[in-house]
Symmetry: C2
Subunit: 228 residues, 2 copies
């Protein structure tokens, strides 16, 4: 009975295929510098969007919408609101930390020839609310799964992706004409890069260190891992 | 100057490696049935958790915590709250849609020998709030990126993952002893399966259909895609 519902067994991933998936996961970086000015071919861009679009979604509602921004005037407008939000953000850090923050490169809005704003139609009726009655936030979470799919596919294509969250969402809505019922989830800078850093930029710059896995895992009940 | 900050160029992904990443993305399924009773070897489980743990996180805050639930009494308790939430959810559907909902298999909590609850320490000071002043929801979004990493790594390992959102988060907290300041993001059923379906279960059962990519993409400004 169950068997009749599923398709014939897929061929298992080979060792090389499995390693490639782990490689994309390990070598993915949040890229803020080093974008090349050469735009992505449309075919490649569509492959990345298709990878995002095939992400899981609660109740199969597929709430994610992708706004591809190549227009320079639009990107300049977004860059302006980044600068404003970043100046406000910088003001909370003092002394050496303030200097360190000021030296960070946190976006590549103008350097990356294409930006992609990924938004979520949280109220969409598709899926008939299946899975959203107890945890309605899973609509937005579905869109984040799309972001991560795109990020990993991009890494395999030697395309860098950087997520910019230092933006006032209200002003971003105005620039991109995003209606009130649509939730901006991620603003991404996307483009070819000639290399990927071996460490996250925030670690390399001394802003923060990664913690080991065992500090993040517990068994059968929640418990605080050992602190780093 | 920029060059000195990055490591020597990585070798580009081969065509086979690239295809493997797209394969994992395309063949990932939300699995609710067909879990095998054989538990995952600990080494494999740790590989999946490490993949999740290496997800991007805002400000490198790494807010995700992983609760691995193998204890049957705990899983029974979670299954009980699923049944209750699902009965309430089912009550909103009438007639043929109600019958269809009742026939859906929406979780594998007891069949999958391990469940993983992924939670987010949204208030953690790690990352020094970088990127979280304008969009604080990016802490939870970082945890969703971890979920998707785990999901894709699992697919490459022939391990099925199903996300259960039909749970009352307050009661889930009580069972897993999750403190108030920690946000439950995803409850996953995880285990070996002998095959993966070629279509999403909700599509196969006629609950919902997937829409084509072009309905989800617009350029430079938001616009509604053509409706399916």
């Amino acid at each position: 009975m169950v068997k009749s519902l599923v398709m014939p067994a897929n061929k298992a991933f080979s060792e090389l295929e499995r390693a490639a998936v782990y490689r994309a996961i390990a070598e993915r970086r949040d890229v803020r510098r080093g974008f090349l000015s050469r735009p992505l071919p449309d075919e490649l861009l569509q492959r990345l969007l298709a990878a995002a679009h095939s992400a899981p979604s609660v109740g199969l509602m597929q709430p994610s919408r992708f706004i591809v921004i190549r227009d320079l005037a639009k990107r300049r407008a977004v860059h302006d609101i980044f600068k404003e939000a970043n100046a406000k953000a910088a003001a909370i850090y003092e002394g050496a930390q303030g200097d360190q923050y000021a030296a960070l490169k946190l976006e590549g809005i103008l350097e990356a020839p294409q930006n992609i704003c990924i938004v979520c139609d949280t109220q969409n009726e598709r899926g008939h609310k299946l899975g959203r009655q107890t945890m309605p936030e899973t609509a937005a979470y579905s869109t984040v799964c799309a972001v991560q799919n795109l990020w990993l596919a991009a890494r395999a294509e030697e395309v860098g992706v950087g997520w910019v969250s230092i933006l006032d969402p209200i002003r971003l809505r105005a620039i991109l004409e995003i209606p009130d019922h649509i939730l901006p989830v991620a603003y991404l800078c996307v483009g070819y890069v000639d290399q990927f850093a071996s460490q996250p930029e925030l670690e390399r710059s001394g802003w923060e260190k990664r913690v080991p896995l065992e500090t993040a895992v517990s068994y059968d009940t929640y418990s605080e891992g050992s602190k780093s």
